[in-house]
Amino acid sequence: MRLLRIVPDDTTFDFIRFRRISFPISALLSIVALAAFLTLGLNFGIDFKGGTLLEVRYPNSTLNIADVRSKLEALDLGEVQIQEIGSDGEVLIRVAQQPGGEQAQQAVVGRVRATLGEGVEYRRIEVVGPRVSQELLSYGIVGLMLAVVAILIYLWFRFEWQFALGASIANFHDIVLTIGFMAIFRIDFDLTSVAALLTILGYSLNDTIVIYDRIREMLRRYKKMPTDELLNASINSTLSRSVITHVTVTLALLALVLFGGRAIHSFSVTMMFGVVLVGTYTSIFIASPLLIYLGVTTRTLAERAEKEAASKVERLAP
């Protein structure tokens, strides 16, 4: 049987030289992402913003969006978003946080139900009060930071500090780009997005560590190889694995995006961006070349030891 081979054996692509292009590109993209985040902001879902969300279905295509809109706008509930979703008479209604605390939030559902009348199927109702949304947001942020710190500490113990720092910079880059992506494409930022961000973080690290592992191994074996050559060799020798793994993860995620349903759509799309684009690119073009600038101890130490030995020999010679 002839097996599928995507990456040929013994590739010698000069990934490290590519850093002269990849670093500026990443810097530019990060700036764009940050700018998007600062100017457009994230499209907070009701988990973090508070408010009310109703997903309703009009059976037998009796849906008239304009009619629903005018009815609900007459309620004077402040900002109301009405969005037709799918093709079988489903509408997503979002009502912003009401002034007047928890009870006012609760009253919204009753008023909308009374307005829409009978014969409407309520598929989903979510009400998040101001106190809860504040907490959820701060838990989300704390969770992200805790995860980064915990992973950093683990890496610091398992590798040298340069690797831990390199991996964190790469990770930070991934999170910034993903947040920028979410800001630009107005993807709902809710609790599920925090889960997606954390998964991207874990996954991108997973990828970086596979290459770092190889770099460390080669550092021990080839003490005299120039750094860029060694990094290139490490990336090339793991390239086949990187590509095959990413194809499988992409296939799994693609299934989620296409068939997973709307409830996890923003999760799937975010993951797709983060894992497939940023995660892979980062570990090869950012995380690995970074090690050059951070300096890699094993090698430096080995050189220093050799120099010292050489100078001793010189002194003894005459």
Binding site: L3, E102, V132, L198, S240, T248, V249, A255, G260, I264
Partner: protein, 532 residues
């Protein structure tokens, strides 16, 4: 590395099989499941997003707890001073304290001693902290009682516990299966009712304090006069629930309260055919109600629920039997719900709904279908790709991943964990990542073979070298999953559970099952070169 003793091989297969089989009870119909022995009665619970239902978070407001305590202190102070025969003026709540002015300077000491008995040690009489829940201070002949903040805190926690009991009694009456009521933090209660279609009824049942009192209507002036001027001492103006609300002037003194009810049932009035609620008092309540109605024939009294007047009938004759009925333009369901509320008892303080999520059963079913389709499509695509890339080794990988997924569901069942929609996403992602461990191993084997090793030695070295990397990369990912689990709630948690379990089963299968299968293959074929 490639050698497995017979017993080790059997143990690996047995452990994998048993964990996979733990999923079987979850797939059985309820009837068969109930016949299983106890240790097998463990199954995956479907989250509300998959089976439909309501999730509500209620909060006890500590400001309400303070207010309730102040009102109780005011009433207790009135009783204590009356029993001690101390003359006083202006007993009322001022800000965060109850204040009272003792009329005669000679009585101040006695009043102070008596009022101090109202302060109770925090945590009950057995507590050893020595802290009191109320500060009692005096300034001349003005005595004030104010609840301490630790006292209010302790009462808030206590109110949550009491509320959970009462909520449980109320929800049990709805007749839904497996409701879950849990404390969340110091001041919140999380209620999950699977399969409930109409959350508004649940909210109506939980959102009411259901404090019922019977009090006399004050006839000395009209409610309108009282609203314009000042209501007489010891009275309040309360409104009916109707539209427009009708004001009533009501005495503060309570004839009988809801605690003295022993039973309440919905029924129909024999003459008007209207839905009513009939109730029965305990001995104490019956005696007090009889005395009060005997003394006030011809006067109206009011039935008040949560400070709203339900009805205000005139006492035509003394009610001695200890039972009666409440009528008030109820629908059948309203009468039924009021009876439930009265039977379950009043909440110690009002609760506020701070979060609500309801998923209709239709959407839940759609989500299960979507999740299943995505999982199957994803798994098939990955399997085909792996077999195309690695041939027979690809088959090994697919088998390992299949067992892996079986084990994830098995562990979920053993833990009795909840499977949510994001949880399914976690499984799909695990499939993608589990494949990575196989890819790492196979690529390493290929490398070793190309470096000139013999087939068996290459396979052996490939496993040894790759497993270290697999461990490193999976531990970091596991840290992210663990953090997700601890800080996350709801959907995030559901995802973290399956993802975390998936990482563990992935490492397990990579170290044991994949290796065992490859080892068996090597023994069977004795390959001269690596087939990948």
């Amino acid at each position: 590395m490639l050698y497995f003793s017979k017993w080790k091989a059997i143990a690996i297969v047995a452990v994998s099989a048993i964990i996979c089989l733990m999923v079987v009870p979850s797939l059985l119909p309820t009837k068969a499941y109930d016949h299983l022995p106890g240790f097998l009665q463990r199954k995956i619970v479907l989250g509300l997003d998959l089976q439909g239902g309501s999730y509500i978070v209620l909060q006890v407001d500590s400001a309400e707890v303070r207010t309730a305590r102040l009102e109780q202190l005011r009433d207790d102070a009135r009783r204590v001073l009356r029993d001690a025969k101390v003359g006083y003026t202006g007993l009322n709540i001022q800000g965060d304290a109850v204040q009272v002015r003792v009329r005669d300077g000679q009585d101040v000491e006695a009043a102070y001693t008596q009022l101090r008995t109202l302060a109770q040690p925090i945590g009950g009489a057995m507590a050893t902290t020595g802290q009191l829940d109320t500060d009692v201070t005096r300034d001349g002949n003005l005595i004030s009682l104010s609840p301490t903040s630790t006292g209010v805190q302790a009462r808030t926690i206590q109110a949550v516990s009491q509320s959970i009991e009462i909520i449980r009694k109320r929800i049990d009456q709805l007749g839904t299966t497996e409701p879950s009521i849990q404390r969340q933090g110091a001041d919140r209660i999380q209620v999950q009712v699977p399969g409930l279609q109409d959350p508004s009824r649940l909210k109506a049942l939980l959102g009411q304090t259901a404090k019922l009192t019977f009090r006399l209507v004050d006839n000395t002036m009209s409610p309108q006069q009282a609203l314009q001027g000042r209501p007489p001492a010891g009275t309040d103006v309360l409104y009916s629930d109707g539209n427009p609300p009708v004001p009533y002037l009501i005495e503060q003194r309570v004839l009988v309260a809801g605690e003295d009810l022993t039973d309440a049932q919905p029924g129909f009035d024999p003459t008007t055919r209207e839905p009513v609620v009939t109730f029965r008092f305990n001995t104490n309540g019956a005696r007090r109600f009889a005395e009060a109605t005997q003394a006030n024939v011809g006067r109206p009294f009011a039935i008040i629920l949560d400070n709203k007047v339900i009805s205000a009938p005139v006492i035509r004759e003394p009610i001695l039997g200890g039972s009666g009925q409440i009528s008030g333009n109820f629908s059948v369901q309203e009468a039924n719900d009021l009876a439930i509320l009265l039977r379950a008892g009043a909440l110690p303080v009002p609760l506020q709904v701070v979060e609500e999520r309801t998923v209709g059963p239709g959407l839940g079913a759609d989500s299960i279908r979507a999740g299943l389709i995505a999982s199957i499509v994803g798994a098939v695509a990955v399997a085909l790709f792996m077999i195309a890339t690695y041939g027979i080794f690809g088959v090994v990988a697919v088998l390992a991943v299949a067992v892996n997924v079986g084990m994830i569901f098995g562990v979920l069942a053993m833990l009795g964990a909840t499977l949510t929609l994001p949880g399914i996403a976690g499984v799909v992602l695990t499939v993608g990542i589990a494949v990575d461990s196989n890819v790492l191993i196979y690529e390493r084997i290929r490398e070793e073979a190309r470096a000139g090793r013999s087939a068996i030695s290459a396979i052996d070295a490939g496993f040894t070298r790759a497993l270290a990397t697999i461990l490193d990369s999976n531990i970091t990912t596991f840290i992210a999953a663990a953090v997700l689990f601890y800080v996350g709630s709801g959907p995030v948690r559901g995802f973290a559970i399956t993802f975390g379990i998936g990482i563990m089963t992935t490492v397990f299968t990579a170290f044991t099952l994949t290796r065992l299968m490859v080892a068996l293959w090597v023994r069977w074929r004795r390959p001269q070169r690596v087939p990948i």
